[in-house]
């Protein structure tokens, strides 16, 4: 009974995450297109922000696949610092004093 219900959990997790990498690659390509041909500066900054957030989620997936949990701190730091670029460019576009 118990032997029949044994599920190879590692194989399922790895397969699902490997399939889930495909939407991430498609999203990265779309962000690259928007960065290359964004008409205004705001489009480009927003595309870079979204790319950073998606890359942090993708780093989490890679952390599970590569089986090295120490690496997960990089994604948190990337999320927190990619937001600062947004603030700098917004301050520049509003012509205010940076840092004040």
């Amino acid at each position: 009974m118990g032997r029949m219900l044994m599920i190879d959990l590692e194989w399922w997790v790895e397969s699902c995450l490997t399939l889930l990498m495909i939407p991430y690659f498609v999203a990265f390509l779309l962000y690259m297109v928007r960065i290359l041909k964004g008409p205004t500066l705001s489009d480009r900054v927003l595309a870079v922000d979204a790319l950073g957030y998606d890359l942090a989620a993708f780093m989490t997936v890679l952390t599970i696949l590569l089986k090295s949990p120490i690496i997960i701190v990089c994604s948190v730091v990337l999320i927190l610092w990619i937001f600062s670029l947004d603030i700098y460019v917004a301050k520049y576009l509003e012509a205010k004093e940076l840092g004040g």
Binding site: L36, R44, L51, L65, L66, I71, C74, L78, W81
Partner: protein, 87 residues
């Protein structure tokens, strides 16, 4: 399945992408767009360091190259002007 090959393929493709964005950052005449392209190149290098299993380098590199370096460049662009004048 071994994911080391996938990591190397990702590293190679991201390195090619960073070369393309570095070329764009050099060639563009709008300096704010140059800052944006340079930050994309920085994010690509951060992913390469991440795949090389060096989280301490990633922590410092993201803080410097996505946080402090665009701040200094944007402060400079506020003083100098946004469009690069050739000639």
């Amino acid at each position: 399945m071994d994911y080391v090959d996938l990591a190397f393929v990702l590293m190679g493709s991201v390195a090619l992408l960073s070369v393309a964005f570095t070329f764009l950052a050099i060639r563009t005449r709008d300096l704010m767009n140059a800052v944006i392209f340079s930050s994309v190149q920085s994010i690509a290098y951060a992913l390469i360091y991440f795949l090389l299993m060096a989280p301490d380098i990633v922590l410092v590199y993201i803080a410097v190259s996505v946080g402090i370096y665009p701040l200094i460049l944007i402060l400079l662009i506020k003083k100098v002007g946004r469009l690069e004048v050739t000639g």
